[in-house]
């Protein structure tokens, strides 16, 4: 099915040229051929068969009511709970955990008739920017198997980039959708915080996490987004505001829109190839009728340290439930304290432990004011700066990542890894919608353009990204996939 989009597959299904079962089988076989890249943790054969059958009936009996995702195969990140399917968050500690319930976003895709075929690899508990922190092995980039696909949703980005499935779901806490989308040359969208329910998403940092799609076109991103967005009574942080219909914005182009470029995001540290690609993209947008102006987000520098206090603080509490008492790994010891220590000591990987320690420290008595409270203040400041920028411009455009995909093992120092997300995590701190779309190559590797919008203006972000995508060819390229160089381990 290589490189087919949701739209194309949907049309073939409706013309009777293929069936949901056939598409699911093809997706599975394409995914298997990627085994050397390790993007898939497990296949959901039983669920796929059931859903494909359902979709087939729906398409046969009431094709007019079947939505655009009906019968379309997809993959999802190993942090989303689906009843009866193992969900391990890329961690040893949740190995064998089979949720007895289905999360809201996944449930909505199932209701729409989409067919889940595989669970994708990711950094443990979504903590990482390279997918090297997975307890189940690193993932290779489909463009160069010796390089990382980005993270933490590396597997979900890789399977779309390789053309095995037309879309996938990931999660984004500090850039975990947009950065791997950029590294793998696909579109990846983080909706406004609160736009997609987090119910059923194994939490990393509750105030930052958001579920979103990967796809090969902005149109497909819009289709998946429309299916999963909207208020959910099970998630009190999901917005009760009605979802703005994306169709009304898509196709309207960027003529007359004012686009801001935060000069802090174009500062030194940007790889030359990335700078060239992004500047070319800005020129393209200007050609399409947008006005490009420089804006300033002075607190950008503080975003990284702010993020690395708030996110670990929340994760230190969120991961406390992995205690070996009710589910997942249980290392039996005579005392409950030793059972906790051994279970968590063996179950968590080094990066997860590092962040739990950071967060525990930041929340500790005597340090709370200096760290957590201070970070919350800076977070407000960062959000206010975005708000002020959006008084002047309709959306922001900038690089998604200062660099392209790097070789595995290249960034063993945690700080250098954290710096990967310096252009994406402010967006999570402010709760804004952001997308990454392919905008060129640097040294043969994809570069991503990030579009950021005001809160709840998800449709506008998609509109800008789509306007750019329509006039360029970067999104049409498919990674060499199976016979990618360097994939062999």
């Amino acid at each position: 099915m290589s490189s087919d989009t949701v739209a194309e597959l949907g049309a073939r299904l409706r013309r009777g040229e293929t069936t949901p079962e056939e598409l699911a089988r093809a997706a599975r076989s394409d995914l298997e051929s990627l085994a050397r890249l390790n993007p898939v943790l497990r296949y959901t054969d039983e669920l796929a068969a059931r859903q494909a059958g359902r979709a087939a009936r729906l398409l046969a009996e009431a094709p007019e009511t079947a939505g655009p995702l009906c019968g379309i195969p997809f993959a999802y990140k190993d942090v989303l709970c689906v009843e009866g399917v193992e969900t391990s968050a890329g961690s040893r500690i949740l190995q064998g955990f089979i949720p007895p319930y289905t999360g809201t976003a996944l449930g909505r895709l199932l209701d729409a008739g989409a067919v889940p075929v595989a669970v994708t690899n990711c950094d443990e508990f979504a903590m990482g920017s390279s997918n090297e922190n997975s307890a189940y092995g690193a993932v290779g980039n489909p463009w160069d198997g010796s390089r990382v696909p980005g993270g933490s949703s590396g597997g979900s980005a890789a399977v779309v980039a390789a053309g095995a499935v037309p879309f996938s779901l990931g999660t984004d806490t500090g850039g975990s959708i947009r950065q791997p989308a950029s590294f793998c040359g696909v579109a990846g969208f983080k909706p406004t915080y609160g736009r997609v329910s987090r119910y059923g998403l194994i939490a990393f940092a509750s105030s930052l996490d958001q579920i979103g799609p990967f796809a090969r076109s902005v149109d497909d991103i819009a289709r998946v987004y429309s299916a999963i967005a909207g208020h959910d009574p099970h998630d009190s942080t999901s917005s009760p505001e009605a979802v703005e219909p994306v169709d009304e914005q898509l196709g309207r182009g960027v003529e007359g829109l004012r686009l801001g470029v935060p000069h802090e995001y174009m500062a030194e540290g940007l790889e030359p190839g990335v700078r060239v690609a992004v500047e070319t993209a800005l020129a393209e947008l200007e050609k399409l009728g947008a006005s490009i102006e420089e804006v300033s987000l002075p607190s950008t520098e503080a975003a990284l340290s702010t993020y690395y206090i708030i996110a670990p603080a929340e994760c230190s509490a969120n991961l406390a439930r992995m205690d070996g008492v009710r589910f997942g790994l249980h290392v039996d010891r005579p005392s409950v304290t030793d059972t906790y220590l051994e279970t968590r000591g063996r179950g968590f990987g080094p990066e997860v432990k590092r962040r739990i320690m950071l967060g525990t420290y930041a929340l500790s008595s005597g340090y709370y004011d200096a760290y957590y409270r201070q970070a919350q203040k800076v977070r407000t400041l960062i959000a206010d700066e975005f708000d002020r920028a959006f008084e002047k411009v309709d959306a922001l455009v900038c690089p998604t990542s200062p660099i392209v995909a790097f070789p595995k093992g290249d960034r063993s120092d945690p700080l250098s890894m954290y710096l990967c997300d310096v252009l994406t995590l402010p967006v999570n701190l402010a709760g804004l919608p952001g997308i990454s779309v392919p905008c060129g190559v640097s040294g043969g590797l994809p570069v991503g353009l990030q579009v950021i919008g005001p809160r709840m203006q998800d449709a506008r972000v998609l509109r800008v990204a789509q306007a750019y995508e329509r006039e360029t060819i970067w999104h049409t390229r498919t990674a060499p996939a199976a016979d990618v160089p360097g994939a062999a381990q």
């Binding site: 969900t87 998630d235 009190s236 230190s316 406390a320 439930r321 008492v325 009710r326 008595s365 709370y368």
Partner: protein, 495 residues
């Protein structure tokens, strides 16, 4: 005996030291569902772990949703305790590991509770004590553990039941304004009464739906600073609270007498030993690392909401006591006893509504009915006799148709199965012998048959009269009015 002694009595300790006591009360709220999920809040009796869902099991990915009724009940309580309700409030995470705490944190409230600065005034030995209420806040209950040993650390195995996990729990933190175990007990009795009255808690100490921890310290009489405080837990009755506090006051007093510094620690009351034992020292105090619960948006309580809740607060015990005295002429003592339990007060008012004189209604309810309801574990309302039956019975007494002892016998007989007292009186001929001529005939007969007793009475032996009264009562099979018989006998035997 020296004044400083290792064996000082409570009285001796109290002569030298003033206890400073503050109570923390946890009350489960009578909501239908749990605090953050749809599971039933009524968990008693359910098979282990059956009353659970992904949210209260703390499964990965599950999220809490605030139970609005629980917020309303907490605000209702806070208002009944004269608290202020800040406009903004929020939930926080209180982090600690324990197997009965499924998420590894308890959703509670830290620096922005639902209410602040209230007070409760209680009266002990005629002295009014105003106890400040620091705050009333809302949180979730934990599950329950069954250990094969006494405590978790020594248990060979432990079973976890999460049926209770997530039940709405309100914490009422009192200021250290209480100065004796009696005051502490009275504070708890009044607090429990209020919670039950306003319908937010069932007040069951044994089952732990109403629980109390106490902070106790001593200081030399005349001093104003605070001593080192000890937290006491595991008290499952009012009596246990008072005993534990007295024990702790003596223990601390003796240590202070010997010049020993009190350890700041947590101690547990062991009923069987009649003593508190150390559970956790200060060095093991938790750092709970509170921070705002990111899964729940902050709460905004508008003035409209607060006023609506205020308007819905039913009559409080103190108001009822005053009204019963005013409207029904009860004494302060009777009014207080009748209103101790809200349901008794309701029954009282219904009886009066059915035409029963207030004093009689109060006496019967607080006496025989209270005894029967306790012995049979069946409240009047669910007994066969019911309120209407009791009213009919009391009216028979008040109308002079039967005497008191007949009425008590009938009450005993009819309480559980029920029945029409009037019909039974007619059927069995239990009506009081009230015909004066008949009574005189019987009295004369008894006098004639008991010359010895008559002689004794006339000789100055008062008790001899009782033998004669007994004779008349026996002759009427208890149906005579004993008072009338006594009067008649005195008249007949008068010199």
């Amino acid at each position: 005996m020296t004044t400083a002694s290792a064996v000082a009595t409570l009285e001796q300790v109290l002569q030298r030291y003033e206890p400073v006591i503050g109570l923390e009360v946890h009350g489960q709220l009578l909501t239908r569902s749990k605090m953050f999920c749809g599971c039933s809040a009524d968990y008693i009796g359910a098979p282990p772990n059956s009353n659970t869902c992904p949210v209260c099991l703390g499964l990965p990915g599950a999220l809490p949703v605030i139970n609005r009724v629980a917020v309303e009940y907490t605000v209702r309580t806070a208002l009944a305790l004269n608290c202020e309700i800040p406009e903004h409030s929020k939930f926080d995470r209180k982090n600690y590991f324990y197997p009965d705490l499924p998420k590894g944190y308890q959703i509670s409230q830290w620096d922005m509770p639902l209410s602040l600065n209230g007070h409760l005034t209680v009266s002990v030995d005629g002295q009014e004590v105003r106890c400040g209420i620091t705050r009333v806040h809302l949180e979730e209950d934990a599950g329950t553990l069954q250990h094969s040993g006494d405590i978790l650390q020594q248990a060979r195995s432990s079973l976890v039941d999460l049926n209770r996990a997530g039940v709405p729990l309100m914490e009422i933190v009192g200021e250290p304004d209480l100065r004796s175990s009696e005051q502490a007990r009275e504070y708890l009795v009044r607090l429990r009464q209020i919670l039950v009255y306003i319908g937010v808690n069932d007040g069951n100490l044994e089952q732990g739906s109403f629980r109390c921890d106490a902070n106790v310290s001593l200081r030399r009489r005349g001093e104003t600073g605070l001593g080192v405080k000890v937290e006491v837990k595991n008290m499952n009755s009012f009596r246990a609270v008072q005993r534990a506090l007295d024990f702790e006051i003596i223990r601390q007093g003796r240590l202070l007498d010997q010049g020993v510094t009190i350890d700041q620690e947590t101690r547990g009351w062991v009923e069987a030993k009649g003593a508190t034992i150390s559970q956790r020292g200060k060095e093991h105090a938790h750092d709970y690392r509170y921070f705002p619960e990111p899964d729940l948006p902050p709460m905004h309580l508008g003035a409209d909401f607060v006023e609506r809740v205020r308007a819905g607060i039913p009559e409080l015990p103190q108001q009822l006591v005053e009204r019963l005295q005013r409207e029904h002429g009860l004494s302060a003592y009777d009014a207080a006893i009748v209103s101790a339990e809200r349901d008794d007060a309701r029954a009282f008012e219904e009886l009066v509504g059915m035409g029963v004189p207030a004093k009689a209604a109060a006496n019967w309810l607080m006496g025989e009915v209270a005894r029967l309801s306790r012995e049979s574990r069946t409240p009047l309302r669910s007994s066969g006799l019911g309120l209407a039956g009791l009213a009919a019975l009391i009216k028979l007494v008040e109308g002079g148709r039967i005497n008191g002892s007949t009425a008590k016998e009938l009450l005993d007989e009819l309480y559980l199965p029920g029945g029409d007292p009037a019909a039974l009186v007619s059927e069995r001929g239990l009506a009081q012998v009230s015909d004066q001529a008949e009574l005189e005939r019987l009295v004369d007969a008894v006098i004639a048959e008991n010359p010895a007793a008559v002689a004794d009475f006339r000789g100055g032996k008062e008790q001899a009269l009782q033998r004669l009264v007994g004779g008349v009562m026996k002759a009427t099979r208890g149906r005579a009015d004993a008072r009338a018989v006594t009067d008649l006998l005195r008249e007949r035997l008068a010199p």
